[in-house]
Symmetry: C2
Subunit: 359 residues, 2 copies
């Protein structure tokens, strides 16, 4: 294990599409929607052989920090930071690069979402290892995943024509990034073969990222560079002042789409899923012979292809199909599976009604 | 108010179609599925001007007796009896007739279901009054309700051709009783005009009913006649012994379809509904502009014609139609509205799995 490898896990999101189980204080990444471990615990578990917990850092928010500390006792407390306010990814990553560079000038950092699922962790780790090696050579590294279907919900990475997943020994230069495509375009991407799903993971030396920030996002770079040494008594206070001065922009827009030295690993699929909705959870979990995902004590009569998450309660489904049923002590969601992406609209309505107790 | 008028409210049923709110200890009749009062409380309320609570008797079972006593403190405790075991209506009615006759040889009794809804109580009471008057004249009296649609879930009472609802001043002889018809037959009934819904209410002098029992159901009559005086110390013990000797048969089959002196009131509808399922509750309650019956704090998005009963919890419906959603602390039902009649099948399955905690 390279001692200069560090991981930054981004865990500031809300995951509103997992309401009513997700709330401000129990966002998607701390829920155990698939399996016994929460998504962020599973992230730490699968990284451990490449980047041990003592070199993992987590950026989250004040609502979630206590839960994350409780779920991940193996990560040093000081490495679990709450952003002073919600920003996009560029300030968070810049801050982490600043801290890591100050602690280890040779630091190579991987940036990881906290709420994805990976069903082939060994294959995943081989890819992470290759990406970190590429980053140690001063590239800005991304990871593309060979698409399995013409997904319209992901961004795509375009590699040179003829690029084959898993066939390269090292990084491949990225031609271009593409936003979430419409279906005909996604279908072309799939057929072309050199378009890969953007996994949302980044790898770079901390100093290389800071150089890029200085060039492409000078205001953010200045605010972050002016911070005192991490661990200094006034660090938190100064951060609270500096963070709102940073640009509210994603690292993709701010740096990756502008930088010249961007390369990537065109990876064969390692069972990756960004678990974007309850329907994605339904797709991930084992179903009974009627296509239902339920607890063993559920009663299903003339019921097909339903997803149920209702803990400590027997659920009876009678003559219903393609539903999502999620029960919690104070809120119950019944939705069509095809409406799983729109669960956030329920929250907007609850917010408009001042039902902050349910957000 | 005629001091010889008594009421017997039959409250021994389970109402399994109202699961998960209905349980052995909270059967349909003690639930407040429409409005604030339970169905049996509403029954007592609406009868009060014709038959006061002190002359009402209730036959129920051991599971429900405590709840009924709590819900109806205005009824003398000794008049709320638990059947030693579940039998059909003939033994229960025979028992009540035996007791009432022993207390008042002139007793005229009305027999009432405990779980129906009546939205026009004044019209209802006028009909009850007419039926009781008819019964005082030694007829076996029933009440027919002018059908509003070709219902296949009710039995029908055939009056002589030309009978018009509400046009008669006194009882009309009953030609025949008809079982629940198929739709084409029900449609003929509706068109004919002299076929009325059987409301399940009966009116007769206690002595007349006992005479009929002696003639048509001698075994039951013998078992009941041998009971000691009501209030005697060994009454309960003897009843426990006598009740299983009674025929397990409805009063309709046992007496009404055989007796010669059966008359009825062909009544105009008094907003009667037997509330046979959650879908009947849906039909009874006010709906929002999307046809949903929900609590005021529910969230409905692209959701139409759903029924929700979930107390103390916010329910969000997203892209779903024609559902029944009933939530309780330990069980949740999600069913198609067209499957409301089959909720009992869920209970059969739970029973087969020994989930007696949920029955």
């Amino acid at each position: 294990m390279n001692p200069h490898y560090y991981g930054l896990i981004l865990a500031g999101g809300r995951g509103t599409r997992f309401w009513p189980r997700s709330r401000k204080r129990s966002a998607k990444q701390v829920l155990n929607v698939v399996g016994d471990r929460s998504l962020i615990q599973a992230t730490v578990d699968r990284l451990a052989p490449v980047i041990p917990p003592e070199r993992l850092w987590i950026l989250t928010n004040e609502h979630l920090r206590a839960t994350i500390l409780r779920q991940l006792p193996e990560i040093p407390r000081k490495q679990v930071l709450a952003e002073p306010e919600q920003r996009n990814t560029a300030p968070a990553i810049g801050l982490a690069a600043h801290i890591l560079h100050s602690l280890d000038p040779e630091a190579v950092m991987g940036v990881f979402p906290s709420d994805h699922v990976v069903s082939k962790p060994s294959a995943y780790r081989a890819v992470i290892d290759a990406a970190l090696k590429g980053a140690a050579g001063r590239s800005l590294m991304v990871v593309g995943i060979a698409p399995r279907w013409p997904e319209t919900g992901y961004g795509y990475i375009e590699f040179p024509a003829g690029t084959q997943a898993g066939a390269q020994t090292g990084p491949v230069p990225v031609e271009r990034f593409h936003e979430k495509p419409k279906l005909p375009v996604a279908t072309e991407y799939l057929a072309a073969g050199n378009f890969y799903w953007n996994s949302g993971m980044f790898f770079w030396r901390a100093d290389v990222l800071l150089e890029n920030l200085r060039e492409h996002l000078p205001k953010t770079f200045a605010a972050i560079s002016a911070l005192p040494r991490f661990g200094a008594r006034d660090f938190a206070a100064k951060l609270k002042h500096a963070f709102p001065l940073c640009d509210n922009i994603s690292i993709d827009y701010a740096v990756l789409e502008k930088a010249s030295n961007v390369s990537g690993i065109p990876a064969a699929d390692f069972g990756w899923n960004d678990v974007g909705s309850w329907n994605a959870v339904y797709e991930l979990l084992p179903r009974d012979e009627s296509g239902n995902v339920t607890a063993p004590d559920a009663v299903c009569l003339e019921a097909h292809n339903n997803f149920v998450d209702a803990r400590g309660k027997v659920v009876a489904l009678l003559g219903v199909n393609d539903l999502i049923v999620v029960d919690t002590p104070d809120a119950l969601l019944v939705a069509g599976r095809d409406k799983a992406q729109q669960v956030g609209e329920v929250l907007k309505l609850l917010e408009a009604r001042n039902r902050h107790d349910l957000l």
